[in-house]
């Protein structure tokens, strides 16, 4: 019997990255180079970033500049088509397993918003409430409720309602969407699914039949109210790299049913406050910064729990400087501090010991507070009617303008 993905990964590299499990080798750091080799995707190099800069006439997003989104599949083809005047659409999603979102959850959405604004293209957002119902054993009603609550936080990221369609699986699956699901399902044998996703004889049939649900939004014919007549429209999927297996399967199936392969642009993992080796866990509120955290919460969490690469004493710090490799505040600033020059300056000063941990943390707290505040203000302005409007099956007449 074919070895499963998990078995293969553990044997070859020691680290395991699947949609349900992320573990580094020997509790160390994730080796992203090995991951790229193993998955078979490409590195996002400076050449591509410059190309994006040229095509969109605006500075590339922080996440591109800092290598947060570091891998891709066929992004070059998307850009080629865009240069020729052919548009594409974006597809991303969230599994609504909990009500409270932390900053790590927001990363793909922040990047997707940038892509939507920079390229002026439409976006579909899938809320996989059925997946969470099946994997987390929540009730259907609870998942539907969580999906709506998460939708509010997603909307607060600033998506343009005239270009965005949010849908939950429980509401939308059916019609043309379901027809594509069946087409995809027919192309994936049970053994193949077991190989990719690691299903066992004990897993219920819901899990086994789920992957097509996540695959199918990559095909424009799944959304007849949006893309009818545009069967050739390409799709770009910004996601975290652990979702790659789903889309590898999708890219494998696509040509067999006459569709374009979706392109991917993938991000690395957001570290927990306790460090790369720590796990962000819903039961430990101090492992991450939540969008509902107050200024006091953020200050406390960063000051007390953020893993520091600085030395134990001020004297040692001045002598040796900080270990930037493991320092969490520096990593977080890497994600969220817009100004490249300022970040370089901080890294230099901190690494050489001229700057202290406390100062770096102070800067981080300011940046995060501003971010969380802005998100909270935007979230407060999201009403149930707005969610209904985003989720309504309606035409988007100006989605490419």
């Amino acid at each position: 019997m074919e070895k499963t993905e998990v078995e293969e990964q553990t044997k070859d590299e020691g680290q395991v990255v699947t949609p349900w499990q992320v573990a580094a080798k020997d509790s160390g750091k994730i080796d992203y180079d090995k991951l790229i080799d193993q998955f078979g995707c490409q590195r996002l190099d400076q050449f591509l970033i410059d190309r994006v800069h040229r095509l969109t006439s605006r500075p590339p997003h922080v996440f591109l500049r800092r290598g947060v989104f570091f891998a891709h599949r066929d992004f070059n083809d998307i850009l080629d088509a865009y240069e020729r005047g052919e548009k594409f659409y974006l597809y991303t999603g969230r599994g609504p397993s909990s009500e409270s979102l932390h900053l790590g959850h927001l990363i793909p959405f922040m990047f997707t918003k940038y892509l939507q604004d920079a390229f002026k293209v439409p976006l579909v957002i899938q809320l996989t409430d059925d997946e969470k119902c099946m994997w987390k054993n929540l009730s259907v009603e609870e998942c539907e409720r969580l999906a709506r609550e998460n939708a509010k936080d997603i909307i607060a990221c600033g998506f343009d309602i005239t270009r965005t369609f949010i849908f939950s699986d429980f509401d939308y699956v059916g019609g043309a969407f379901y027809k594509n699901m069946v087409r995809v399902a027919k192309c994936v044998t049970y053994n193949k699914a077991v190989g990719i996703f690691g299903f066992t004889g004990e897993d219920h049939i819901g899990k086994v039949s789920f992957p097509p649900v996540q695959a199918v939004p990559s095909f424009p014919s799944s959304f007849p109210h949006l893309f009818s007549g545009k069967d050739n429209l390409r799709c770009l999927i910004p996601c975290a790299i652990d979702q790659d297996p789903y889309f590898r399967m999708t890219r494998d199936v696509a040509p067999r049913i006459g569709y374009n392969k979706p392109a991917l642009i993938e991000s690395s993992f957001f570290p927990a406050l306790q460090g790369e080796t720590g796990k962000m866990s819903a039961s430990d509120p101090n492992s991450a910064i939540y969008v509902t955290d107050s200024v006091t919460d953020i200050t406390n969490k960063i000051n007390r729990y953020a893993f520091s690469g600085g030395q134990d004493s001020k004297a040692k710090q001045i002598l040796y400087g900080a270990n930037l490799e493991v320092d969490i505040p520096i990593k977080y600033l890497n994600f969220f501090l817009e100004d490249d020059e300022e970040l370089e300056h901080i890294k230099k000063e901190y690494g050489s010991g001229r700057m202290l941990t406390g100062q770096v943390k102070e800067r981080l707290i300011k940046v995060l507070t501003e971010l969380v505040e802005r998100h909270r203000r935007a979230r407060a302005a999201v009403t149930d009617e707005m969610v209904d409007a985003f989720m309504a099956v309606r035409p988007l007449p100006n989605m490419f303008n």
């Binding site: 397993s97 909990s98 009500e99 987390k136 929540l138 009730s139 009603e141 609870e142 409720r145 909307i155 600033g158 998506f159 343009d160 309602i161 005239t162 866990s281 819903a282 039961s283 509120p285 107050s294 802005r374 909270r376 203000r377 935007a378 979230r379 407060a380 302005a381 999201v382 009403t383 149930d384 009617e385 707005m386 209904d388 409007a389 309504a392 309606r394």
Partner: protein
Amino acid sequence: MGQTYRASVRSIEKFSRSRKGRPSGFYVPKLFSVSPKPFFLSYLFGFSVLLFASHSKTQLNMGVTKDQLLSRLQELQIDYSKFEHPVVLTVEAQAEHVGDLGGGLSKNLFLKDKKSRFYIVSVLADTKVDLKVLSARLGLGKGGLRMAPEEALGEILQVPLGCVTPFALVNESARHVSLLLDQGFKSQERCFFHPLSNDVTIFPDPTYLLLLLALKASDLDKFLKSIGRDPAYVDLEANPSVGKDQPPDLASFVPSGSIAIPDPTENSTPSKGPSEKSVASTDIKSTKITANASKPSSRAQNAKDKPVKDVNPSGLTANVERFVEEILDKTSALLLSQITEETIKQHGAQLGTVLSNSIKSCLSSELNSTTMTFKNTAYTEGFHAGIHHHPKPKY
């Protein structure tokens, strides 16, 4: 119909919040304490006050009365028996008076979470309720649940201290209160709950009797269904682990509407905008406005917006003048902060250009964010109008 009345008065210990003995849900006003002698004097005082029934701050004349409740139970053909016992402080003491009636005594807690959502937790007297565990199971984190303040009893449940009961949900004011019932009730022949009460405070008084209704759990269900509530029984002693892979199992019990009670001690955040739809009284709104206005100035913008937005019952609207005012305020604040003696000396004639660049770089992302919100709000209003549009009939 049985009637149990014990003539003996147990010495009543001074009530304290860090109580020994499990709370029976009876809260005795702290004015009255121990020994029998002042007790009887206060009894006279209390008795005469009870006659007037206008002692406390709130009038309960808006709530459903006890007689109305009893007649509704009769309409639903629910069999119940009435029992009486003197006011006591602990479940053990209560059991001494009515324990021989066989199980089913209830302990009722009225709880509140940090977002002003209320819960009635009704359990068998023996069931232990750990608020920390319950809080985690509801998805409120640790320590998210507290006992509700006394005012809430009167305002929301329309019951006096010591009489928390599932029957209080019949009141309109309690429509957002969530109810958790101990699954142990289902195995009892009958369960005991307080009916509603027109009285406002209860005094520890040997002659004053509290009424208890005994009915079958299935009949309680019937009643709850008749007021549009879905009775749900939960194992309240269970302690399942709550984590990333095991989400809070009672999360569906968290009410979606919150009730705004003027509570100056509470740390209310500005993000309560949408939930304030449920507030009807203008008094409560003005309390919220003053509470918001006292927040630090960095949130002044927000506080200014919030009360105005709340006036519209359907939620938030795309108000052009307010939007423009907000933009101009932010811009002028930035401008003023950047024009100082120093900067004039530093840049001289170039100050204009410098400032203009500064405004563009500092404000652009924030303004984009607020404008996108404005756009989305306007679209939503249009969409809403569209779906309710009555097309002209075409013949």
